[in-house]
Protein backbone atom coordinates (compact mmCIF):
# COMPACT_ATOMS: atom_id res chain seq x y z
CA UNK A 1 0.00 0.00 0.00
CA UNK A 2 1.33 3.45 -0.90
CA UNK A 3 0.91 5.78 2.00
CA UNK A 4 0.62 9.53 2.08
CA UNK A 5 0.93 9.70 5.87
CA UNK A 6 2.91 7.29 8.06
CA UNK A 7 3.08 7.81 11.81
CA UNK A 8 4.85 5.71 14.44
CA UNK A 9 4.21 6.10 18.16
CA UNK A 10 3.18 9.69 17.59
CA UNK A 11 2.21 11.71 20.66
CA UNK A 12 1.61 15.32 21.58
CA UNK A 13 1.58 16.58 25.14
CA UNK A 14 0.28 19.95 26.32
CA UNK A 15 1.59 20.49 29.84
CA UNK A 16 0.27 17.45 31.71
CA UNK A 17 -2.37 16.45 29.18
CA UNK A 18 -1.77 14.19 26.19
CA UNK A 19 -3.83 15.46 23.24
CA UNK A 20 -2.68 12.50 21.17
CA UNK A 21 -1.05 9.30 22.36
CA UNK A 22 0.71 6.35 20.84
CA UNK A 23 -0.62 7.01 17.36
CA UNK A 24 0.61 4.52 14.78
CA UNK A 25 -1.14 5.04 11.51
CA UNK A 26 -0.90 4.63 7.75
CA UNK A 27 -3.11 6.68 5.44
CA UNK A 28 -3.28 5.35 1.86
CA UNK A 29 -2.48 7.49 -1.17
CA UNK A 30 -5.15 8.53 -3.65
CA UNK A 31 -8.02 7.98 -1.27
CA UNK A 32 -10.48 10.03 0.68
CA UNK A 33 -9.88 9.36 4.35
CA UNK A 34 -12.25 10.43 7.09
CA UNK A 35 -10.91 11.20 10.54
CA UNK A 36 -13.79 10.83 12.96
CA UNK A 37 -14.24 11.09 16.68
CA UNK A 38 -16.00 13.14 19.34
CA UNK A 39 -15.03 16.72 20.08
CA UNK A 40 -11.77 16.85 22.01
CA UNK A 41 -10.60 13.43 20.79
CA UNK A 42 -7.43 14.88 19.27
CA UNK A 43 -8.46 15.20 15.62
CA UNK A 44 -7.23 18.76 15.19
CA UNK A 45 -3.97 17.94 16.97
CA UNK A 46 -3.32 15.04 14.60
CA UNK A 47 -4.12 17.18 11.55
CA UNK A 48 -1.82 19.96 12.76
CA UNK A 49 0.99 17.45 13.31
CA UNK A 50 0.53 16.23 9.73
CA UNK A 51 0.56 19.77 8.36
CA UNK A 52 3.59 20.65 10.50
CA UNK A 53 1.95 23.41 12.50
CA UNK A 54 2.81 21.42 15.63
CA UNK A 55 5.87 19.36 16.49
CA UNK A 56 5.32 15.95 18.07
CA UNK A 57 6.40 15.37 21.68
CA UNK A 58 7.28 11.76 20.85
CA UNK A 59 7.27 9.52 17.78
CA UNK A 60 7.84 10.06 14.08
CA UNK A 61 5.69 11.21 11.19
CA UNK A 62 6.25 11.22 7.44
CA UNK A 63 3.93 13.05 5.03
CA UNK A 64 4.22 12.73 1.21
CA UNK A 65 7.68 11.22 1.76
CA UNK A 66 9.03 14.07 3.87
CA UNK A 67 9.01 15.69 7.29
CA UNK A 68 6.00 18.01 7.77
CA UNK A 69 6.73 21.67 6.92
CA UNK A 70 10.45 20.86 6.51
CA UNK A 71 10.96 23.20 3.53
CA UNK A 72 9.15 25.08 0.75
CA UNK A 73 8.82 21.96 -1.42
CA UNK A 74 7.15 20.08 1.42
CA UNK A 75 4.82 22.99 2.16
CA UNK A 76 3.70 22.98 -1.48
CA UNK A 77 2.70 19.32 -1.26
CA UNK A 78 0.19 19.70 1.55
CA UNK A 79 -2.92 21.87 1.50
CA UNK A 80 -4.74 22.69 4.71
CA UNK A 81 -8.21 24.15 5.16
CA UNK A 82 -8.50 24.91 8.86
CA UNK A 83 -11.60 24.57 11.01
CA UNK A 84 -14.62 26.65 9.92
CA UNK A 85 -13.00 27.23 6.50
CA UNK A 86 -11.44 30.63 7.32
CA UNK A 87 -11.07 33.47 4.83
CA UNK A 88 -10.01 37.12 5.22
CA UNK A 89 -13.25 39.05 5.78
CA UNK A 90 -11.83 42.34 4.48
CA UNK A 91 -10.39 40.91 1.25
CA UNK A 92 -12.38 40.34 -1.92
CA UNK A 93 -12.69 37.00 -3.71
CA UNK A 94 -10.22 38.28 -6.35
CA UNK A 95 -7.77 39.33 -3.57
CA UNK A 96 -7.88 35.80 -2.20
CA UNK A 97 -6.98 34.34 -5.59
CA UNK A 98 -4.16 36.86 -6.03
CA UNK A 99 -2.84 36.00 -2.57
CA UNK A 100 -3.00 32.30 -3.39
CA UNK A 101 -1.08 32.86 -6.64
CA UNK A 102 1.67 34.77 -4.79
CA UNK A 103 2.06 32.31 -1.96
CA UNK A 104 1.91 28.98 -3.81
CA UNK A 105 4.53 27.86 -6.35
CA UNK A 106 2.19 25.32 -7.98
CA UNK A 107 -0.85 27.65 -8.08
CA UNK A 108 -3.36 26.70 -10.77
CA UNK A 109 -4.91 30.02 -11.73
CA UNK A 110 -7.14 28.65 -14.49
CA UNK A 111 -8.74 26.17 -12.07
CA UNK A 112 -9.18 28.84 -9.42
CA UNK A 113 -10.91 31.22 -11.84
CA UNK A 114 -13.17 28.64 -13.47
CA UNK A 115 -14.17 27.32 -10.05
CA UNK A 116 -15.14 30.70 -8.64
CA UNK A 117 -17.06 31.41 -11.84
CA UNK A 118 -18.90 28.10 -11.72
CA UNK A 119 -19.77 28.73 -8.06
CA UNK A 120 -21.15 32.14 -9.01
CA UNK A 121 -18.78 34.02 -6.68
CA UNK A 122 -18.44 37.70 -7.59
CA UNK A 123 -14.68 38.53 -7.70
CA UNK A 124 -15.35 42.02 -6.25
CA UNK A 125 -17.32 40.72 -3.29
CA UNK A 126 -15.62 40.90 0.11
CA UNK A 127 -15.29 37.49 1.77
CA UNK A 128 -16.97 38.89 4.90
CA UNK A 129 -20.15 39.46 2.90
CA UNK A 130 -20.36 35.92 1.54
CA UNK A 131 -22.72 33.30 2.97
CA UNK A 132 -21.25 30.51 5.08
CA UNK A 133 -21.54 28.06 2.20
CA UNK A 134 -19.86 30.44 -0.25
CA UNK A 135 -17.04 31.18 2.19
CA UNK A 136 -16.45 27.46 2.60
CA UNK A 137 -16.40 27.06 -1.18
CA UNK A 138 -13.87 29.89 -1.49
CA UNK A 139 -11.59 28.26 1.09
CA UNK A 140 -11.94 24.94 -0.75
CA UNK A 141 -11.12 26.64 -4.06
CA UNK A 142 -7.91 28.03 -2.57
CA UNK A 143 -7.01 24.60 -1.19
CA UNK A 144 -7.59 22.91 -4.55
CA UNK A 145 -5.89 25.56 -6.72
CA UNK A 146 -2.76 25.14 -4.64
CA UNK A 147 -2.58 21.72 -6.33
CA UNK A 148 -1.37 19.80 -3.27
CA UNK A 149 -0.70 16.07 -3.21
CA UNK A 150 -2.58 15.87 0.06
CA UNK A 151 -5.48 18.15 0.94
CA UNK A 152 -6.40 18.26 4.62
CA UNK A 153 -9.70 19.72 5.80
CA UNK A 154 -10.56 20.17 9.47
CA UNK A 155 -14.32 19.92 10.09
CA UNK A 156 -15.07 21.59 6.75
CA UNK A 157 -18.84 21.12 6.79
CA UNK A 158 -19.60 21.33 10.52
CA UNK A 159 -21.10 24.82 10.35
CA UNK A 160 -22.90 24.43 7.01
CA UNK A 161 -26.60 23.73 6.44
CA UNK A 162 -27.43 20.37 4.80
CA UNK A 163 -27.69 21.78 1.28
CA UNK A 164 -24.40 23.71 1.47
CA UNK A 165 -22.84 20.62 3.03
CA UNK A 166 -23.87 18.40 0.14
CA UNK A 167 -22.74 21.04 -2.36
CA UNK A 168 -19.34 21.38 -0.66
CA UNK A 169 -18.75 17.62 -0.64
CA UNK A 170 -19.92 17.37 -4.26
CA UNK A 171 -17.33 19.94 -5.39
CA UNK A 172 -14.66 18.15 -3.34
CA UNK A 173 -15.55 14.77 -4.88
CA UNK A 174 -15.54 16.21 -8.39
CA UNK A 175 -12.04 17.52 -7.72
CA UNK A 176 -10.98 14.06 -6.57
CA UNK A 177 -12.35 12.61 -9.82
CA UNK A 178 -10.54 15.25 -11.85
CA UNK A 179 -7.11 15.41 -10.19
CA UNK A 180 -5.18 12.67 -8.49
CA UNK A 181 -5.27 13.94 -4.97
CA UNK A 182 -5.36 12.38 -1.52
CA UNK A 183 -7.85 13.90 0.86
CA UNK A 184 -7.98 13.72 4.64
CA UNK A 185 -10.97 15.33 6.30
CA UNK A 186 -12.14 15.32 9.87
CA UNK A 187 -15.67 15.42 11.16
CA UNK A 188 -17.62 14.59 14.24
CA UNK A 189 -20.68 13.94 12.05
CA UNK A 190 -20.20 10.51 10.55
CA UNK A 191 -23.21 10.63 8.26
CA UNK A 192 -21.45 13.36 6.26
CA UNK A 193 -18.56 11.04 5.57
CA UNK A 194 -20.33 7.82 4.74
CA UNK A 195 -20.61 8.48 1.03
CA UNK A 196 -17.41 10.44 0.49
CA UNK A 197 -14.79 8.47 2.39
CA UNK A 198 -13.34 5.13 1.36
CA UNK A 199 -11.06 4.93 4.39
CA UNK A 200 -11.72 5.95 7.99
CA UNK A 201 -9.71 6.51 11.13
CA UNK A 202 -11.63 6.60 14.41
CA UNK A 203 -10.01 8.64 17.15
CA UNK A 204 -11.37 8.39 20.70
CA UNK A 205 -9.79 9.85 23.85
CA UNK A 206 -6.59 10.81 21.99
CA UNK A 207 -6.00 7.29 20.66
CA UNK A 208 -6.68 5.60 17.33
CA UNK A 209 -9.44 3.12 18.07
CA UNK A 210 -9.87 1.60 14.58
CA UNK A 211 -8.70 2.38 11.05
CA UNK A 212 -9.45 0.73 7.73
CA UNK A 213 -11.21 0.70 4.38
CA UNK A 214 -14.89 1.48 4.73
CA UNK A 215 -15.93 -1.55 2.65
CA UNK A 216 -13.85 -3.90 4.81
CA UNK A 217 -15.12 -2.39 8.03
CA UNK A 218 -18.75 -2.67 6.92
CA UNK A 219 -18.24 -6.27 5.79
CA UNK A 220 -16.60 -7.44 9.03
CA UNK A 221 -18.74 -5.72 11.68
CA UNK A 222 -22.09 -7.09 12.79
CA UNK A 223 -24.63 -6.40 15.47
CA UNK A 224 -25.76 -9.60 17.14
CA UNK A 225 -28.45 -9.93 19.72
CA UNK A 226 -29.90 -12.89 21.59
CA UNK A 227 -30.38 -14.42 25.04
CA UNK A 228 -28.18 -13.08 27.84
CA UNK A 229 -24.61 -14.27 27.41
CA UNK A 230 -21.13 -13.55 28.76
CA UNK A 231 -18.67 -12.13 26.23
CA UNK A 232 -16.17 -14.85 27.23
CA UNK A 233 -18.47 -17.46 25.64
CA UNK A 234 -18.18 -15.92 22.18
CA UNK A 235 -15.92 -17.60 19.59
CA UNK A 236 -12.29 -16.47 19.75
CA UNK A 237 -12.37 -14.82 16.33
CA UNK A 238 -15.22 -12.52 17.34
CA UNK A 239 -13.73 -9.36 18.76
CA UNK A 240 -16.24 -7.48 20.91
CA UNK A 241 -16.45 -3.77 20.06
CA UNK A 242 -19.33 -2.85 22.33
CA UNK A 243 -21.83 -4.69 24.46
CA UNK A 244 -25.07 -3.98 26.24
CA UNK A 245 -27.22 -6.24 28.37
CA UNK A 246 -30.69 -6.28 29.82
CA UNK A 247 -31.84 -8.86 32.35
CA UNK A 248 -32.60 -11.31 29.55
CA UNK A 249 -30.93 -10.08 26.38
CA UNK A 250 -27.39 -9.36 25.19
CA UNK A 251 -26.48 -7.18 22.25
CA UNK A 252 -22.95 -7.07 20.94
CA UNK A 253 -21.20 -5.31 18.12
CA UNK A 254 -18.49 -7.70 17.00
CA UNK A 255 -15.75 -7.62 14.44
CA UNK A 256 -15.06 -10.93 12.74
CA UNK A 257 -13.80 -12.01 9.32
CA UNK A 258 -15.94 -15.17 9.46
CA UNK A 259 -19.72 -15.47 9.11
CA UNK A 260 -21.69 -15.78 12.36
CA UNK A 261 -23.21 -19.23 12.44
CA UNK A 262 -24.66 -19.53 15.94
CA UNK A 263 -28.45 -19.73 15.35
CA UNK A 264 -29.16 -18.20 18.77
CA UNK A 265 -28.08 -14.80 17.49
CA UNK A 266 -30.06 -12.55 15.29
CA UNK A 267 -27.47 -10.83 13.12
CA UNK A 268 -27.81 -7.45 11.44
CA UNK A 269 -25.56 -5.21 9.38
CA UNK A 270 -24.18 -1.95 10.70
CA UNK A 271 -24.02 1.40 8.93
CA UNK A 272 -20.80 3.37 9.20
CA UNK A 273 -22.34 5.77 11.71
CA UNK A 274 -23.45 2.97 14.04
CA UNK A 275 -20.09 1.28 13.60
CA UNK A 276 -18.16 4.39 14.62
CA UNK A 277 -20.55 5.07 17.50
CA UNK A 278 -20.05 1.56 18.84
CA UNK A 279 -16.29 2.17 18.96
CA UNK A 280 -16.91 5.39 20.86
CA UNK A 281 -19.20 3.61 23.33
CA UNK A 282 -16.82 0.67 23.55
CA UNK A 283 -14.04 3.01 24.66
CA UNK A 284 -15.83 3.51 27.96
CA UNK A 285 -15.13 -0.04 29.09
CA UNK A 286 -12.12 -1.02 27.01
CA UNK A 287 -9.76 -2.67 29.53
CA UNK A 288 -6.67 -1.33 27.76
CA UNK A 289 -7.70 2.17 28.53
CA UNK A 290 -7.87 3.11 32.22
CA UNK A 291 -8.30 6.81 31.65
CA UNK A 292 -10.01 9.43 33.76
CA UNK A 293 -11.19 11.26 30.67
CA UNK A 294 -13.88 8.68 30.07
CA UNK A 295 -15.66 9.98 33.16
CA UNK A 296 -16.47 13.26 31.41
Amino acid sequence: MNTVVTAHGLGKQYRSRWALRDCTLEIPTGRVTGLVGPNGAGKTTLLRLIVGMLDPTVGTIEVCGGKPAADAAQLAKVGFVAQDTPTYAGLTVADHLRLGAHLNPRWDDATARSRTERLGLDPRQKAGRLSGGQRAQLALTLGLAKRPELLILDEPVASLDPLARREFLRVLMEAVAEHEISVLLSSHVVSDLERVCDHVVVLVDSQVRVAGDVDDLLATHHRISGPLREPSTLPADQHVVSASHTDRQSTYVVRTPAPILDPAWSVSALGLEDLVLSYMEGAAFAPTHPDLEVLR
Binding site: G30, E194, A269
Partner: protein
Protein backbone atom coordinates in the same frame (compact mmCIF):
# COMPACT_ATOMS: atom_id res chain seq x y z
CA UNK B 1 -29.95 5.58 -18.58
CA UNK B 2 -30.55 4.71 -14.95
CA UNK B 3 -30.02 6.79 -11.84
CA UNK B 4 -28.47 5.55 -8.64
CA UNK B 5 -29.55 6.33 -5.11
CA UNK B 6 -27.83 5.62 -1.84
CA UNK B 7 -29.36 4.41 1.38
CA UNK B 8 -27.02 5.50 4.12
CA UNK B 9 -27.09 3.61 7.37
CA UNK B 10 -28.20 0.40 5.69
CA UNK B 11 -24.89 -1.25 6.51
CA UNK B 12 -24.42 -2.08 2.83
CA UNK B 13 -21.33 -0.33 1.52
CA UNK B 14 -22.02 2.34 -1.14
CA UNK B 15 -20.12 0.46 -3.84
CA UNK B 16 -22.22 -2.68 -3.28
CA UNK B 17 -25.39 -0.58 -3.44
CA UNK B 18 -24.38 0.61 -6.91
CA UNK B 19 -23.57 -2.96 -7.98
CA UNK B 20 -26.93 -4.21 -6.67
CA UNK B 21 -28.82 -1.44 -8.44
CA UNK B 22 -27.23 -2.25 -11.79
CA UNK B 23 -27.86 -5.97 -11.34
CA UNK B 24 -31.48 -5.32 -10.37
CA UNK B 25 -31.97 -3.10 -13.44
CA UNK B 26 -30.45 -5.83 -15.61
CA UNK B 27 -32.69 -8.46 -14.07
CA UNK B 28 -35.83 -6.38 -14.54
CA UNK B 29 -34.93 -5.51 -18.12
CA UNK B 30 -34.53 -1.78 -17.35
CA UNK B 31 -31.02 -2.07 -18.77
CA UNK B 32 -30.21 -4.15 -21.81
CA UNK B 33 -27.20 -4.83 -23.98
CA UNK B 34 -25.61 -1.71 -25.40
CA UNK B 35 -27.09 0.67 -22.81
CA UNK B 36 -24.68 3.10 -21.25
CA UNK B 37 -24.21 3.40 -17.49
CA UNK B 38 -23.96 6.92 -16.06
CA UNK B 39 -20.39 8.21 -16.27
CA UNK B 40 -18.39 8.31 -13.06
CA UNK B 41 -18.42 12.10 -13.24
CA UNK B 42 -22.22 12.17 -13.54
CA UNK B 43 -22.70 9.88 -10.56
CA UNK B 44 -20.25 11.90 -8.47
CA UNK B 45 -22.00 15.14 -9.40
CA UNK B 46 -25.45 13.73 -8.65
CA UNK B 47 -24.80 11.85 -5.43
CA UNK B 48 -21.74 13.71 -4.10
CA UNK B 49 -20.01 10.36 -3.59
CA UNK B 50 -16.41 9.30 -3.81
CA UNK B 51 -15.43 8.55 -7.44
CA UNK B 52 -13.41 5.53 -6.23
CA UNK B 53 -16.69 4.00 -5.03
CA UNK B 54 -18.26 4.20 -8.49
CA UNK B 55 -15.07 2.92 -10.16
CA UNK B 56 -14.93 -0.02 -7.77
CA UNK B 57 -18.57 -0.90 -8.52
CA UNK B 58 -18.04 -0.68 -12.29
CA UNK B 59 -14.87 -2.80 -12.05
CA UNK B 60 -16.79 -5.50 -10.18
CA UNK B 61 -19.56 -5.47 -12.81
CA UNK B 62 -16.89 -5.71 -15.48
CA UNK B 63 -15.28 -8.68 -13.74
CA UNK B 64 -18.67 -10.40 -13.75
CA UNK B 65 -18.84 -9.83 -17.51
CA UNK B 66 -21.93 -7.63 -17.29
CA UNK B 67 -20.45 -4.37 -18.55
CA UNK B 68 -17.41 -3.21 -20.50
CA UNK B 69 -15.58 0.09 -20.26
CA UNK B 70 -14.71 1.86 -23.51
CA UNK B 71 -11.92 4.27 -22.61
CA UNK B 72 -12.92 7.87 -23.16
CA UNK B 73 -16.51 6.95 -24.05
CA UNK B 74 -18.11 5.28 -21.04
CA UNK B 75 -19.26 1.99 -19.59
CA UNK B 76 -21.74 -0.13 -21.53
CA UNK B 77 -23.90 -3.12 -20.74
CA UNK B 78 -22.65 -6.23 -22.50
CA UNK B 79 -25.00 -8.84 -21.13
CA UNK B 80 -28.45 -8.81 -19.69
CA UNK B 81 -29.61 -10.86 -16.74
CA UNK B 82 -33.26 -10.88 -17.68
CA UNK B 83 -33.27 -13.12 -20.79
CA UNK B 84 -35.41 -16.20 -20.33
CA UNK B 85 -36.72 -15.55 -16.84
CA UNK B 86 -38.30 -12.18 -17.63
CA UNK B 87 -41.23 -13.83 -19.44
CA UNK B 88 -42.02 -15.78 -16.30
CA UNK B 89 -42.26 -12.63 -14.15
CA UNK B 90 -45.89 -11.90 -15.13
CA UNK B 91 -47.44 -15.22 -14.11
CA UNK B 92 -45.26 -15.37 -10.97
CA UNK B 93 -46.37 -11.90 -9.98
CA UNK B 94 -50.02 -12.94 -10.44
CA UNK B 95 -49.45 -15.97 -8.19
CA UNK B 96 -47.86 -13.70 -5.62
CA UNK B 97 -50.78 -11.26 -5.72
CA UNK B 98 -53.18 -14.13 -5.21
CA UNK B 99 -51.08 -15.43 -2.31
CA UNK B 100 -50.96 -11.96 -0.74
CA UNK B 101 -54.75 -11.67 -0.95
CA UNK B 102 -55.02 -15.05 0.77
CA UNK B 103 -52.62 -13.97 3.51
CA UNK B 104 -54.63 -10.80 4.18
CA UNK B 105 -57.85 -12.79 4.25
CA UNK B 106 -56.26 -15.01 6.89
CA UNK B 107 -55.71 -11.87 8.98
CA UNK B 108 -51.97 -11.31 8.48
CA UNK B 109 -50.84 -7.69 8.59
CA UNK B 110 -47.96 -6.26 6.53
CA UNK B 111 -45.36 -7.03 9.13
CA UNK B 112 -46.38 -10.65 9.54
CA UNK B 113 -46.51 -11.13 5.76
CA UNK B 114 -43.00 -9.75 5.39
CA UNK B 115 -41.68 -11.82 8.29
CA UNK B 116 -43.32 -15.00 6.97
CA UNK B 117 -41.99 -14.42 3.47
CA UNK B 118 -38.44 -13.69 4.63
CA UNK B 119 -38.34 -16.61 7.06
CA UNK B 120 -39.61 -19.02 4.37
CA UNK B 121 -37.25 -17.55 1.79
CA UNK B 122 -34.26 -18.04 4.11
CA UNK B 123 -35.38 -21.52 5.14
CA UNK B 124 -35.74 -22.69 1.52
CA UNK B 125 -32.40 -21.09 0.63
CA UNK B 126 -30.67 -22.91 3.44
CA UNK B 127 -32.20 -26.23 2.44
CA UNK B 128 -31.15 -25.91 -1.18
CA UNK B 129 -27.70 -24.51 -0.34
Amino acid sequence: MIEFSLDSGSGVSPYLQVVHQVRRALRLGLLTEGDQLPTVKDVVARLAINPNTVLKAYRELERDGLVAARPGVGTFVTRTLADSSLAAHGPLRRDLVRWLAKARLAGLDEESIEALFLATFRHVNEETA
